[in-house]
Symmetry: C2
Subunit: 458 residues, 2 copies
């Protein structure tokens, strides 16, 4: 049994929904289908979820939001008409949406989650109905009935461990099961949404629960690329990548996946395939637990900006047991999350995302480090970028760091930091933010050579 998740652009209009249903029907092992809310039909279009948020916000603020409500209804109306669905389908959707108009003003946060979730929920009804008109046996599954239990943090629900056992029973049901993404219910029956990318989370949870042979995640790109396509023309497509590689690339700016969405699938060792609704025969990118890395050691290259470094030096620091711990404790007490803390003999650098620091907070931290740790020097440097070369097996390959550092040197990029050996999967360079793009391009050119690309070894 495969679990398939279709994203918003795959469900944006009737034409896209026809493609989706054809994809579903083309493979009878595609049984459990997770849908997002209809997305953008064209670049300037609004997503249904955005329309719903506009409606909900106005309703909460002004009590009335008829025009905004109608905009949502219109999107579904257009889809239902074009798909020539039975009238009863649109009636059910309108009836569902009308309940939102009747909100009593209690618990606005909970109301907002209900509003947002209706996007996915009604889309699931549409897809179910359309599959039926095609003669398929399809059932809409309510996450509450199916047992998708979550904790009650609005907008940031976390699945409860007991949900998996309940959801596993979906395996026993016949026909196609259409499951709205993005939300679950608490033990008390309160609807709660996941954070951003929440339909990916639903798919990942279901794939883990039913022990799917594959979790297919349909989006609007043929595959994940080895490097940001805005930086390099026609970059190499990644055929296979491990969970760890994917996660490290996500960290440094790869945005294919909501970062935490994959955890349930990862823990259950379910392979994931990212595919294109508009080109479903393309092989896509497979995310696996292990891959053969003999043909390509480097899986991808990414970069992220907005880091700063706090540099601290103190003569004889390395003789002082507990110095590093005390420094990290100060940062923790100031609620700062740090990324790395490479250390020398008498100095240590802490790298963190700079949005966490205000001028006032910086001053307080610098003063605490000076006064509590009696250091010789402490200063903060902003606008650093981290550039990462990611690949399982890099650690045991001689010469990777030499090639990478040489490529950067030839591009006249000063390496402010190298972090290798902490992770077994990545090689990280700190450069100034202005050099980040050129660094990625230089590394791509070094590790993805013309001849390799033309041979398709990628």
């Amino acid at each position: 049994m495969k679990v398939c998740k279709f994203g918003g652009t795959s469900l944006a209009n009737a034409e896209q929904i026809r493609k989706v249903c054809q994809i579903i029907l083309n493979d009878e092992t595609r049984r459990l289908i997770v849908v997002s809310a209809p997305g953008k039909r064209y670049k300037e279009d609004g997503k249904v979820t955005d329309l719903l948020i506009t409606f909900g916000t106005k309703k909460i603020e002004h009590g009335q939001a008829q025009k905004e409500w109608q905009a949502v209804v219109d999107r579904y109306q257009e889809i239902c008409s074009e798909l020539q669905l039975p009238l009863s389908c649109m009636e059910a959707i309108i009836s569902n949406l009308q309940k939102l108009l009747q909100w009593d003003g209690e618990d606005p946060e909970g109301f907002m989650d209900v509003v947002k979730a209706s996007g996915e929920d009604n889309c699931a009804r549409v897809v179910t109905e359309y599959l039926r008109t095609l003669g398929a046996s399809a059932t809409y599954i309510n996450p509450r009935d199916a047992g998708l239990l979550v904790n009650g943090e609005y907008g940031n629900a976390q699945v409860l461990p007991e949900a998996y056992e309940k959801l596993a029973q979906l395996k026993e049901k016949d026909g196609l099961l259409i499951f709205p993404g993005f939300f679950g219910f608490t033990q008390e029956g309160k609807l709660t949404t996941f954070s951003r990318g929440g339909s990916d989370v639903t798919g990942s949870i279901l794939a883990a629960a039913v022990k799917a042979e594959l979790y297919e995640n349909f989006t609007d790109v043929d595959s994940v690329y080895a490097v940001n396509p805005n930086l390099v023309d026609h970059p190499c497509e990644i055929k296979e990548i491990t969970y760890r590689e994917m996660r490290e690339l996500s960290y440094a700016g790869f945005s294919v996946f909501h970062e935490e969405a994959l955890i349930p699938a990862f823990r259950a060792e379910i392979p994931v395939c990212i595919k294109n609704t508009n080109n479903p025969t393309a092989p896509g990118t497979k995310i696996v637990t292990k891959r053969d890395n003999s043909s390509r050691i480097v899986a991808g290259i990414a970069s992220d900006v907005g880091f700063c470094r706090i540099y601290v030096s103190k003569y004889l620091m390395n003789k002082e047991i507990g110095f590093g711990r005390k420094l990290l404790q100060i940062l923790e007490e100031e609620h700062l999350s740090y990324e790395h803390s490479p250390s020398g003999i008498d100095d240590i650098t802490v790298i963190l995302r700079q949005h966490q620091l205000t001028e006032e907070k910086e001053a307080r931290i610098v003063s605490r480090i000076k006064n509590e740790l009696h250091v010789d020097d402490v200063h903060v440097q902003y606008n650093m970028a981290l550039v990462m070369l990611v690949g399982e097996g890099m650690r045991s390959s001689v010469g990777i760091s030499a090639r990478a550092a040489t490529a950067l040197a030839i591009a006249d990029i000063n390496i402010e930091m190298i972090n290798q050996g902490s992770s077994e999967v990545n090689l990280m360079f700190g450069v100034s933010a202005g050099d980040a793009d050129n660094a990625v391009i230089a590394l791509y050119q070094e590790f993805y050579k013309e001849e390799e690309l033309s041979l398709g070894i990628c």
Copy 2:
């Protein structure tokens, strides 16, 4: 005014003491002279300090140690005879040493410090007396009278801040001042020795106290070398090196100086020159606060073995505020001092000196990390070496790490870790212990090229 310190081999016998006194008299700004105890005259010889320790140990254990005592007396006797010193000098030494025979059995640790210190103390008397026979005005200075105040930790005395003001008065004295190294006195008048290399400490304190124009440290090598001379024939001599560079090189196995000896001189910004008693016209190696690094960015290359790495991985580690701090806290609670802790996204590595780990301690730490931090994986890898390229200005030079990593790759050395950017002075590679020497040689060949060496740019 210069402060000069002469090491044990420079004072091992009459011939060496003649050289030392000639050096002193050749430069009238050499006014404050710190002496060690007589060292080895030939490779298999015993140092006077070792003879004293043998004597002291036996005296403490058996009450009697006449033979061992006589061995010490004989060394001084030989020196005094050959230098044709007045009889009164040897009589004073014997009288001083006889007090050790009359020890009452109280406070054996304090007794041992007194025994050890007599080596330097009597050597200072010999040098004073010999300088007088040469017609110089020389005065033996008792550290107690001069105010070299220390705390009372036997064998590991720390100078007290108030000592500097008292010692500064030495500037007002006329003639040559001969000061025994290695020990001071507590406020209560108890003699206490410094830890290993203690005469260097005395010299460093005096240089800081009198604000010496230079602290000359005479030993038995022409200079500090850029790399271990056991690995490379005729390695490049370091003409000038900064305190920070020296300290980083000391860390990784350079053993010219007792690591902490330089602190007082460093804090007072006194330049230090390491010179050879047997070749005093050689320029030696100068340790300075700042140097012109335009001609040579790399100051030296060193390596040290005996490190292990504790590798810890946990999915989503970087989302967990306080993870790194908690890990370091466990190590601190287990009394482990760590060297570095480079971190990836979901993993962190802690590098420490492996002599600290027993099999039992390793098992306990691994188990604590597993149970308290709920990690996915933790394992310990032994026998790692750290190889360091040290030089001020490396950080702002493009291409240094590329050259270094390439040199190691060509030598077929797998780089297990790179640590750059923490320190502004060093670039550190982790390699397996078996590769350490070859790594140093490869880096030396890369950064100290034939043509440069022949041009003397070094």
